[in-house]
């Protein structure tokens, strides 16, 4: 899928593929027990992002300039070397699904045991997001708000020039 995005020159098809890619990753999140993340990815990644990109295509162009060599050697080398280094780094990582991995030992058991009693919410993800990390979520809203203002300002400047 990702390779298809890499090779296609028709940007409309690229955007469609990236929407499908988002949906597939949402399914992957369900199988990895992250249902909340799957909802968000399907609606935000598969929905909003695709709509935004289609809108951008409508305002610009849906063809990528073709020609010149498809494969660039220097970026390919950089990517290969980085990937090899990262794979070497994974050799020390805990195994997939290992219940004794360090990530499972820290605060997660506490959240799982305490949060239903402390907050009364059966969904642990919700209780952590809205209760334990409420300020974090509020900061996230600030980020979205700032981005929204940014988009509005950029687009408003555009309309003024057209007049």
């Amino acid at each position: 899928m990702a390779v298809g995005i890499l090779r296609l020159h028709n940007l409309l098809a690229v955007v469609m593929l990236s929407g499908i890619y988002s949906l597939i990753s949402a399914c992957l999140f369900v199988t990895l027990d992250a249902v909340d993340v799957a909802f968000t990815e399907a609606s935000v990644g598969g929905g909003i992002a695709t709509v935004l990109m289609l809108a951008t295509l409508g305002l610009t162009t849906d063809r990528e300039k073709t020609g010149k060599g498809n494969l660039r050697l220097v970026p390919l080398a950089v990517v290969t070397i980085t990937g090899a280094a990262l794979i070497y780094g994974t050799l020390d990582m805990p195994l997939f699904g290992d219940p004794t991995a360090p990530i499972q030992q820290h605060v997660a058991p506490r959240y799982i045991e305490e949060s239903p009693r402390a907050t009364g919410i059966p969904n642990i993800v919700t209780s952590v997001l809205a209760s334990y990390r409420g300020y974090d979520t509020m900061g996230e809203l600030t980020v979205i708000f700032t981005a929204g203002i940014g988009v509005v300002l950029i687009m408003a400047g555009r309309r003024r020039r057209e007049d």
């Binding site: 990895l32 935000v44 809108a55």
Partner: protein, 122 residues
């Protein structure tokens, strides 16, 4: 070295991540760069979520009636972090796309090399 098959989730992530990285640095089209950035982003999400997965675990929603059996929940923390990351990601994507629309109007193109060429002339 006997552990190698158990690390496949990290390798999938790395392949996706490097594909996205390649799109970002090798492609001149700005919209395609944003799509590449999204691929990269999703690979990071998958990295976090797959680290929180426990074998035989279930989604971290408390089961009221377990029937006496011990229920294993997957780690909820990465889920929370990635929820935040997805939303912030769409915010940055939207901002990037808005900038692309403006660049298209100012330069008449969304190809990096043509933009550089116009900058040289100016």
């Amino acid at each position: 070295m006997t552990n190698l098959p158990g690390l496949y989730n990290y390798w999938i992530v790395i392949v996706l991540m490097m594909t996205g990285f390649y799109v970002v640095i090798a492609r001149g089209n700005l919209i395609k760069k944003i799509v590449g950035l999204n691929i990269f982003q999703t690979s990071v999400f998958i990295l976090y979520i797959s680290m929180g997965k426990i074998d035989g675990g279930t989604a971290p929603i408390i089961v009221a009636d377990t029937g006496g059996a011990e229920v294993v929940y997957s780690n909820p923390l990465p889920h929370v972090l990635i929820l935040t990351a997805i939303v912030v990601g769409i915010a940055t994507t939207a901002l990037g796309l808005a900038l692309i629309v403006r660049i298209k109007e100012a330069y008449g193109t969304v190809e990096e090399d043509e933009i550089f060429a116009k900058d040289e002339q100016a």
